[in-house]
Amino acid sequence: MNGVLHPISQIYRVAVATLGDMGFDIISAPDVDTAWNNFESLRLTADHPARLGQKEFSLTNGKLLRTHISNTQMYALNHKQPPLRVMYMGKSYRNEATDASHEIVFNQLECLAIEENLSIANLLSLLDTFTKRLLGQDVVYRFRPHLFPFTEPSIEVDIWHDNTWTEVLGSGMVHPEVLKNIGIDPNRFRGLAFAMGIERLAYIKWNTDIRDFHANKLAFLNQFKDKK
């Protein structure tokens, strides 16, 4: 009798395979990081309204648990000099109340491409390919202009699900200030990035309570068994 691969791992594999085949390498960064790497370097300054919506867990040693996986952008050059394509995944932590659609620990996958002639057209193409690979060729989706401090322009991808538009991906062209903070010359290189919450996609897709993914109840996990 087979056991079960966790649904989060299963979703990761489809996403990672899609991006991996497009030349994205896998890198990683620590969960425990500095406020600079997590916030300021990404233009989430102390008084920015977007930062006020992202309460963090801080440690007694002065560092914090990252509130998003984007801190990894600051480690990109440890992998190689540009041009580069990297993806990274792992846990992020938000200090907020949990309910059926909010968790304190959640998985994210983000990818970052830094090359000389990237354009918004490249980002739209990447989002299109990725969304269709993950959710099926027939998925109905739309791009929507949005605001993130670390990208300009910023774009969210909504899918039509359960008779309403639901946001699944956040993306954008990396802001020139952020490129500088990474250590890249924004006059020479451009960057694009997009990120996805794995549990979020899972609870939307399967209409469950987001907390089920960390509750580790076998009754829940056994539903994800490979039927073959």
């Binding site: 193409s125 469950t208 089920d212």
Partner: protein, 759 residues
């Protein structure tokens, strides 16, 4: 913010239809939370049958109307009533847009069974002050809704960079830009100014205030806020208070400029200033909140005494009331950060403070204030007594010098330069060319977010509809990802799953108690300032506590095999660790399982068996684990991968769409045991499966056979099968009554399908 469709139409009459509006707003980057129609039930077509003057009210009439079902008497104050007119009757129980609830009432001694509505009563901006007249052929007694203009309240989630659309005119202007014709204009009114005035004087104005104006006007407190304003303010969620305050809110929601109104008679002086608060300075807000200010707060003063928290809210003792006879209005512009820090520092982010934080249009402040004062004089019949204004600080225009070729290249779509220019001009930019492609772009005074090329690129994609832009694939690149540790780990996961283990994902938080219990080195553990859950304010240095909790959380499963590959944290850094836990009530089973695992992984069995940890009884007690034997193997994944290398073999990629997942119930399960005598030919396991399939309708979630036996007393053709049935409902804990009902249904099923005899 909430917007009223008809209010937007004031500024942009040919606004897209309501059914198209949502997609247009989304295209512009304004997320639509909801669109709620204004039309309400309870409004009925009625025909005027008879009009009689009210015996006790000069300006009132007693009108008899036919509603089809009956003839009702309504007291009405409208002029020019004509019989046979079809009008809108608001029936008792209806709530009008102003928030007014209609009831059967008595007006000056005469009963009124409802209300006949004017346009304004219905929230309609009509120039006709009388009753709203419906077409001749409007059917009596039917709903009046189809005959009223379509209106709706639109709730938008505006991004923090777009302070310019936090008003009806601002949003209308953004929508108008899609026509790529010109910038939406508005004809601001100008009030009549007094001949001479020196009553209002200015003291020092702090540099954080970039300009401030005061106007003293007369006020007749008997005059009510116009019904149209009442309806509009109420519909967009703003309370109506009194005319001066309502005017300030109406102007703010119309044009985005916050204003403030003070009761002139409660001001000790007309010598106004703006300064930083003194440390500990006391201030009572108009909401009666007592505050102690700091120099982080900016205050507006009269004779150096604070009369308002600048840009935030007024004081209790200077607010307008029903007995005010003169009002001082004030309009100002501040350094955004100053108001932001002041307001957020006191946790008082008011509508006004939010707009200052997000930048107001300094260029338009005077026009808007003039218009507000002209409206005031129109509505009250009052006049301006005196004015004063500070010398405004010069407004800095944001200038961008760039090359349009670079801009088009950044977007990646073949957009003609003429189109780019037209689009930028439609949002108010001023473009000058040094040559064909080198441009200087000056952004309009209401936009503070357009600084660099990327910001302009974002404007273009908003205006041309991002979903229509070209897509260009990334250049092909050689995949390297299968050489990464991720791949190795995933292959290991597949191997363990094939061996019957289930992967879990746990929280990394542990408590000091657990650290002490498990003998973990506290010095090496990282501590959080606040426990995310319960008393768990440390990060785990190994996976054991998390694995044990997962075992404890599955008490119903007799044999558990779980694993996790996840990070562990210490003062020396973070490492990826693999942890495997096998728990059972059978030592033999566990030993066999471990041996089997090591053999399949081709690892030396005896040396690996010695790496396994057996969990101690006191640990069991703490985690409330009921299974008697728990064994854990864990080590850094690097170490595992070094000891055992795998060939690069394919890793399974799931078909996510083929999974049918049901959310699990969080309500209590109940168990009943059933013993049934059936034919010896019945397969016990098939019986259990049949019951499970059929039993979905009676909330059976699990069946398991726990006994099968034959007894000569039953006869040679019979056997007894005992089954444990687990019931669980999705949305509540099942009651005894329900369970008894289910049991009798189950017994019936067994009798009918299997000719079973229940024991």
């Amino acid at each position: 913010m909430k917007y009223l469709y008809s209010w937007l139409q004031d500024y942009y009459p040919e606004l897209p239809n309501l059914d198209q509006l949502e997609s247009v707003l989304v295209q512009l980057g304004h997320d639509v939370e909801s669109i709620t129609p204004v039309a309400r039930d309870g409004l009925v077509v009625a025909e005027i049958k008879d009009i009689q003057p009210h015996p006790n009210g000069e300006k009132l009439s007693c009108v008899t109307v036919d509603t089809g079902l009956s003839q009702l008497k309504i007291v009405c104050g409208a002029k020019n009533l004509i019989t046979k007119q079809k009008v809108v009757l608001a029936t008792p129980g209806t709530t009008l847009p102003s928030g007014n609830k209609i009831q059967i009432t008595t007006i000056r001694g005469e009963q009124s069974a409802g209300m006949l509505c004017s346009g304004e009563d219905l929230g309609i901006n009509s120039s006709n002050p009388g009753l709203f007249i419906l077409p001749e052929d409007a059917p009596i007694g039917e709903s009046a809704k189809p005959f009223l203009p379509l209106d709706a309240v639109i709730t938008l989630d505006i991004t923090s960079d777009r302070g310019d659309v936090l008003s009806h005119f601002g949003l209308a202007r953004d929508l108008y830009a899609l026509k790529a014709k010109s910038v939406l204009q508005f004809n601001f009114k100008v009030p009549a100014l007094p001949q001479s005035n020196s009553q209002l004087q200015l003291d020092t104005i702090h540099p954080d205030c970039r300009g401030i104006s005061f106007v003293l006007t007369t006020y007749d407190a008997a005059i009510q806020t116009p019904m149209l304003w009442q309806c509009r303010l109420s519909l967009v969620g703003q309370k109506c208070i009194n005319l001066p305050t309502d005017l300030t809110n109406y102007i703010m929601l119309s044009f985005g400029q916050p204003l403030h109104a003070y009761d002139a008679s409660r001001l000790t002086s007309y010598y106004f200033g703006v300064r930083r608060a003194h440390d500990g300075e006391r201030f009572t807000t108009f909401q009666s909140k007592q505050l102690r200010l700091t120099p982080q707060n900016l205050v507006i003063t009269a004779a150096d005494k604070p009369i308002a928290l600048a840009g935030v809210m007024g004081s209790q003792d200077t607010g307008t009331t029903a007995s005010s006879t003169q009002v001082v209005f004030e309009a100002a512009s501040f350094v955004p950060k100053s108001i932001s820090l002041s307001a957020r520092g006191l946790n008082l982010l008011t509508d006004a403070a939010l707009r200052f934080e997000r930048h107001i249009d300094e260029d338009s402040r005077h026009n808007i204030f003039d218009h507000a004062m002209a409206l005031w004089c129109d509505v009250t019949g009052g006049s301006i007594v005196a004015t004063t204004a500070s010398k405004p600080v010069p407004i800095l225009k944001s200038e961008f010098v760039g090359n349009v070729v670079e801009l088009v290249d950044y977007i990646g779509s073949p957009l003609p330069y003429t189109k780019i220019q037209a689009l930028l001009e439609s949002i108010g930019c001023l473009i000058t060319h040094t040559d064909d492609t080198n441009w200087t772009i000056i952004s309009p005074s209401w936009r503070h977010d357009l600084v660099n090329m990327e910001d302009y690129a974002e404007e273009i994609i908003r205006l041309v509809d991002i979903n229509k832009l070209a897509k260009k694939p990334l250049s092909p690149s050689v995949p390297q990802w299968k050489r990464s540790p991720y791949w190795k780990n995933e292959f290991l996961k597949d191997t363990l799953v094939a061996l019957g283990l289930t992967e879990i994902q746990t929280y990394p938080f542990i408590s000091l108690e657990e650290i002490q219990l498990l003998g973990i080195d506290q010095q090496k553990s990282l501590e959080l300032c606040e426990a995310p859950i319960g008393n768990k304010n440390f990060l785990r240095t190994n996976l054991t506590p998390s694995l044990l909790k997962a075992v404890a959380d599955n008490p119903e499963t007799p044999h558990i095999s779980l694993f996790e590959i996840a990070k562990v944290y210490s003062t020396e850094g973070e490492i990826e660790q693999i942890g495997i836990v096998l728990a059972s009530n059978s030592q033999t089973q566990i030993d066999i399982k471990w041996q089997n695992m090591f053999e399949r992984l081709r690892l030396p069995v005896s040396s690996w068996m010695s790496r396994i940890k057996n969990i101690e009884p006191d640990v069991f007690k703490y985690y409330k684990i009921r299974k008697p034997i728990v064994t854990i193997l864990e080590m850094p994944i690097e170490q595992f991968n070094q000891i055992k290398t795998f060939d690069i073999l394919p890793v399974a990629i799931a078909d996510l769409d083929s999974m049918e997942i049901k959310p699990i119930s969080h309500f209590q399960t109940s168990r009943r045991d059933v013993s049934v005598i059936v034919s010896k030919d019945v397969d016990a396991y098939k019986l259990a499966t049949d019951i499970l399939r059929w039993g979905k309708t009676i909330n059976i979630i699990e069946t398991s056979i726990f006994d099968v036996y034959r007894d000569p007393a039953m006869g040679s053709e019979k056997q007894s099968i005992s089954i444990r049935i687990t019931f669980q409902a999705h949305d509540h804990t099942l009651t005894q009554t329900e369970l008894n009902d289910y049991q009798s249904k189950l017994n019936q099923y067994l009798q009918e399908k299997y000719h079973g005899i229940i024991r």
